[in-house]
Every structure is written in structure tokens, then in C-alpha cells.
């Protein structure tokens, strides 16, 4: 249901999420994010171009790292959310706490500048 690819592009770690994130597949997302944060990556980009659906459990995963990101001074950007998924982030209010960008290049630019 979900496929997460982790590629290092320069000093940015890019996680490409493909598929649906529901209660069971959110564990994979959690593992991927956790290992990225534990390996002391400073710039993480989560590309959600092919993320079709995210359940509340999936949102819970992103939410649970907000504090860690802040504490470790990590720049985490989520980009290319489709309208539906973006709406879900927005309703919950997560867009206020996470950095969401419209496109991959915009996100990279942002991460590069920082």
C-alpha cells in the first residue's frame, strides 16, 4: 500500500512517499522518519507527489516529530501534497506547524537557502 524511497540528494535527505498512508502503513512512514532523524540529517524533504491518501494515523506520525524537529534544529519540508491531502493537513492545523511547499523544486530551494 505504501512505498517509501530514501535518497540522499546533496545535503538533503529525500523521502519519496508513494501510495496510501493508513493505520498499518503509517508504521513504515514512522520508521523511515525516525531513522532519518536519528541519523542526524539536517535537511529532510518528504516528497508526497504520489501520496493519494493519508489517514489520521498517518497525520499522527508527522505530528509526533514536530517537537523532535524543533529540538534538533532539523529542517523538514513536506512538498507536493495534492489538494485532498493538503486539505486534511489544513483542517487539522498541521500546516501551521509543518513546512508545506507546493513543489519539489520550491522545497529544495528553500532547504538550499537555509
Amino acid at each position: 500500500m505504501i512505498d517509501i524511497k530514501t535518497i540522499k540528494e546533496g545535503n538533503i535527505l529525500v523521502l519519496t512517499v508513494v501510495g496510501d498512508v493508513d493505520a498499518s502503513s503509517s508504521i513504515e512512514l514512522d520508521t523511515a522518519l525516525q531513522s532519518a532523524i536519528e541519523s542526524k540529517e539536517e535537511k529532510i524533504l518528504v516528497d508526497c507527489k504520489n501520496l493519494n491518501y493519508i489517514s489520521s494515523a498517518g497525520l499522527g506520525v508527522f505530528m509526533s516529530y514536530i517537537q523532535d524537529i524543533k529540538d534538533n534544529n532539523i529542517k523538514l519540508v513536506i512538498c507536493d501534497l495534492n489538494d485532498k491531502v493538503y486539505n486534511v493537513f489544513e483542517i487539522l492545523g498541521l500546516h501551521q506547524l509543518l513546512t508545506l511547499m507546493a513543489t519539489n523544486s520550491e522545497a529544495k530551494e528553500y532547504l538550499g537557502e537555509v
Partner: protein
Amino acid sequence: MPQKVVIRLSAGFAFIFWLFYLFTDLFLLFSRSTDINSGIHEAVPNLMLNLFITSLYVYFRYKVNRAESVNFTDLLWNIFLTGLLATLASLVLRMFMYMLGSSKLAENIFLIDIIYIINIGLISLFLVAVFAVWKRLILYQKSKFLLKIWTTFEYTLVLSLLFNVLPISLPESYRLYYVVLLVLMGLFLSVNMRWVAYLNFKQKWKSILLIVLVLLYLGYFANSLFNPMNPNVEISNTIWNNVFLLSVITFTFIYALFSLLVILFNLPTSSVFEQKLEEVVNFQKLSQSIQADQSEEQVYQILLDSAVSTVMADAAWVEINNEKGETEFFKFQITPKEISTIKSYIVKNKITGVFDNSTDKSLKLDKHLAKLKGQGFKSILGFDINVQGQKIGSLALLKEVADGFDKDTTNIIKTFVGQAEVSVENYRLLNQAIVNERYKEELKIAQKVQSSLLPDKLDSNADFDVAAFSIAADEVGGDYYDSYRVDENKIAIIIGDVSGKGTSAAFHMSQMKGVFQSLAQMNLSSKEFLSKANTAISNCLEKTSFITATIFIIDQATKSIELSRAGHCPTLYYDKQKKSATYFEEPGLGLGILRNDDFHNYVEINELPYRAGDVVVLYTDGITEAKNRKGDEYGYDRLKDTILANVNENPNLIQKRLIEDLYSFTGTEFIDDDYTILILKFKEETEHK
């Protein structure tokens, strides 16, 4: 008539008829010797004899059949006793005559006749008893055909009683033919010896002894019949005239002889038969063990015992790695040290065919085992025990002789192991089923508890009506709604949704209820309420969980609503004046996402006046995210349209229409998410009255 009565009656009749037989015969003898016409027909004594025999026959027939359980040696013992008594009585009479010597009394024809008739009575008694028992033995495990033959034989035999009483005298040869016919039938029937096979070794010896004694009695009686005590005295009846007695004595003798021979020849093989029987019993034990509510250990013990007794092993063990990860041993004449020596030897030398799934178990292991000094075992047979596709242990059988296990016994042990595996598997599955059943019961209780957390009826006042409906995808869910009357004018209403679903969501939902019920009393603003709720709930939520909620405070005094949104689905508000519905998208943040004081920066208060006919629609994302077969979501627009189409109805009907539309959209009978609908409608002017 009850059997008991028949038995007593027939015994009484037998005795009466015998007395009649005695007196009529004596009377006839007397009248003959004195040349006085007695007025009694010559055939009367014989008729009485026939009636006597028939009564005896009825007596034994019921007596023998009454023995419910067939115990063959008991049956033989009974006829042995009858025979003993009859022979003893007969011998006493003989002694009596002997003591009389050649006195005048000894010559008395009446005395001789009396003694003869007593003897006939005794012989008949014994013969009929034996006959009844033989019948039972022959008809053991009868077939339809056998039963037919036997019935024919029995009727022919009864018919032979007529010979004595026929008014016309038939040629002597007819009697002989009849006897020959009966004896031939008897011979044919005498090959039925199924009962012999069911005797064990000890019973066979006992039967042989009893049958030999029965044969002796028969011989004695035959002798006394064929050679009367006093040949000089002519007696009205001789055995040669009685077709019945002659046939029965021959038949009983033949069957006794046959039985004796068959039992003798069966003696050497009886141990094999017994062993086979034991195998069947063992097999049955193994397959029944689960039903008797036994534990796994008992199954292994039965397996060990059965295997040992079947192959007559000198030593054996069953090794089981139980579910707790411990290794258990069930041993037979072997020490743990010997087991480990043998096992390590097999592993070290990589001997195959012992504890693996090799099909060939008859490998030459002797040369290996011979090297096991001090063990004394020369052959070994091993089997894996697999349950639910996993090896849980093994069975090993040892013998002190080489080549101790043949293919037959190997197959039997294999079947035993298979049966034990099935038993253990059933036992485990049953236990699992019981545990699952208990969990289900627990969930049902949880469901009941949770449904009691949602109010049956929400608070309302003269200004509005409200309808609410909630359903969980699993037994329990994470959706929540509630209301609280803060004061005479204010009513607080909340709708909430815990992230995830199922049991963990249900726990958080009940926490949320506690938080709402406590904070609502404090008459806070909607924003303060959410801030405090966030603080309270943050302490009890796990890291990845959050709760979304919208809180409403409806004030009748100011005719206004105050609401704040904590990341919950935007409220749909229908404005009657504008005739339009809009979603309130004021900023907000889910509870538990930001677990510090910053939270209040992300929530706002939305305050608006309400007017009659306005409708507030609260819901959880189970509604908007419900999918049809194509994967489309029900969505915000469809929700809005459905509400607009039904906005003039009362809240209950609006809710009903919405649910109907939702299911017709998904096309299923089941929506795989928790969902909740809460419709609040401000009463129109007309409705006020």
C-alpha cells in the same frame, strides 16, 4: 409378559408336565401289567414328555437371552453347573440301584421306570440348556442367512417332537432319515465360531476346560441312555424312539467338539489378536483424549504408553518443546543421561532416518548403536511430532534386539503419532477459540460501556432541537459527542474524533468525555475550553495520537453561538435568511498536537447570532471520507447539497436523509470508519407554538 414371569411360569410348567409324564407312564405300565384298560391313550406319556421339553426350551431360551452382556465363559460355566448337577443326580440314582443289588426291589419294573423317567428329565434339562447356549454362541454376530438356516433348523427340530405322538406309526427308516437331516443341518451350523476369536488367552483355556467337562457329561448321558441299567427290563420308551433327544445330543456333541478344536488351534495366535485389539483401543484412547478435557501432557503420555506396548519397546521417550519454550520429557525405562547420550550420538554422527522426515525408517542402525557402549540398545525408531506445521517434539523407541522394528509396527506408530498430533492440534485450537471467545465477550462489554458514554439525548432548549447518531466501524470507536447545560441560558455541545480507530481510540474517547464534563462546568469561553482541554489531554495521549474537536456554546439570552475548532472537520452552517450553507473554516489545531502553552495561539473564537430556521451540521470525517466503489469520497459538496435539499425538515429527518444518501452513495451496507452526525436546528417561528 415380563421375562421374569415367563421364566418362572415355564419352569413351573416343566415340572408339572414332568410329573404328568411320570404318572401317566406309570399308570400305563400298571394297566398293561394287570391287563386293565386304563382309558389312557398310549401316546399320552410322550405328549407329556414333549410338553415338558417344550417348557424347558422356553425356560432356557429366556434364561440365556437375559444375560445382557455376552460373556462366553460365563455361559459355558452355567451349562457346566447344570451338567454337574444333572450328572450328580443321575449318579446318585445309579448308586441307589447298585446298592439294591439283585434284590427283588431292583427287579421292580415300576422302580426302574421311575428312575428311567427321572434320568430322561435330567438329560432333557441338560441338553436343552446346552442347546440354548450353543444357539447363542452360533448366532453371535449373525448374518441374515445364518439366522434363516438356524430358524429352519430349530423348527425342524421342534417338528421332530411329533414323532412320539403320531397316531400312526411310521417306518423305522423315516426316523433315521429325519435324524440324519437334523444332524447334517447341525453340522453345517457348527462351523460358526466367531465368538472364539473374542476370547483372550486366559478365557480360551477356561473355555477348553469347561467344554471338555460338558463333553464328558454328554458322553455319560449318552452312555446311560444307550445302555440302560437293567437291559433285562423292557421299558416303554427308548432313546432310539426319541428323534428329538437323539438329534439334540448329536448336535450338541458335534458343536462342543468343534469348539474345542477351534479354540485349541486358536490358542497360539490369540496373543496377536489381543495385541491388535489393544492397538485399536490405544488408537481410540489417543483420538478421544481431547474430548475428555485432558491436557496435552496426557496425550503425550498415552502416545508413549501405546507405542511402547504396541512394539514392546525396551525403552522409550517423548520429548516435547512446549509452548512456554521448556523441554519436557516423558520417559519409559530410560534415564535423562541415556537420552542425551543417544541424542548427541545421533547428531554427532549425522545418522539420518531417526529424527527427520525420511520415509525409510528401516535403516540399518545396528552398527551405529552397537558402538553405544553400555546402552545395550540395538535398534531405534524415531518420529517427529508436528503440530500446526511446526515441530514440537519427537518420539523415540528403543529395543535391545537388532532389527527390532518392522514396517508394520513402524506404520502403526506413525499412525499413533499422527493421531496424537491431531489431538494436540485440536486441543490448542479449542483453547485459542475459547480465548478468542473471551476477547469477543470483553469487546462486547467495552462496546456497551462505550455506548453508555454517548448521551441518549442531548440537552436542548426552547430555541433549538438536536438529533445525533454515531456508529463505530469496530466494536468500539473514537467518535464522541456530548452536551452540558452550563447555566439557564448556556448549553455547551461538543463533537470530537480520536485519531485511529478501535480500542485505543475508544480509551482516548472516554478520556475526552472526562475532560469535557469537567471543563464544561467552569463556564469558560470556547477558546479557553480548548486550551485547557489540550493541556489535560496532552498528558494522557500517546505520541502519535491526537483528538480533533469543535466546541459550541449556545446562549439563549444573547441568541448567539460561540464556537472554536480544534482541528475538527469544519462545521456546516445553513443561514435561513441568506438561504445558503457555508463551512466555517476558522483556524484551529487538533488537541494533543502541540503539547505546550503555544496552543492557544492557534485557536480562535467564532461568534455569530442565530436565527430561527438556521441549521448547524456537525459530523466526523467518516462522513466526508466515505468512499464508493470507484474510490470517490462523499466529500464536502455532496454533504452540503444533501443538507440544502432537506433543510426544511426536522433534525431527525435531515439526519435520516443524510444517512440514506450516504449509503446509496457508497453502495455498501457497511462503512469502514467511525462516523457521527449531529444536526442542530433552531426552531422556526411556527414551531415555537
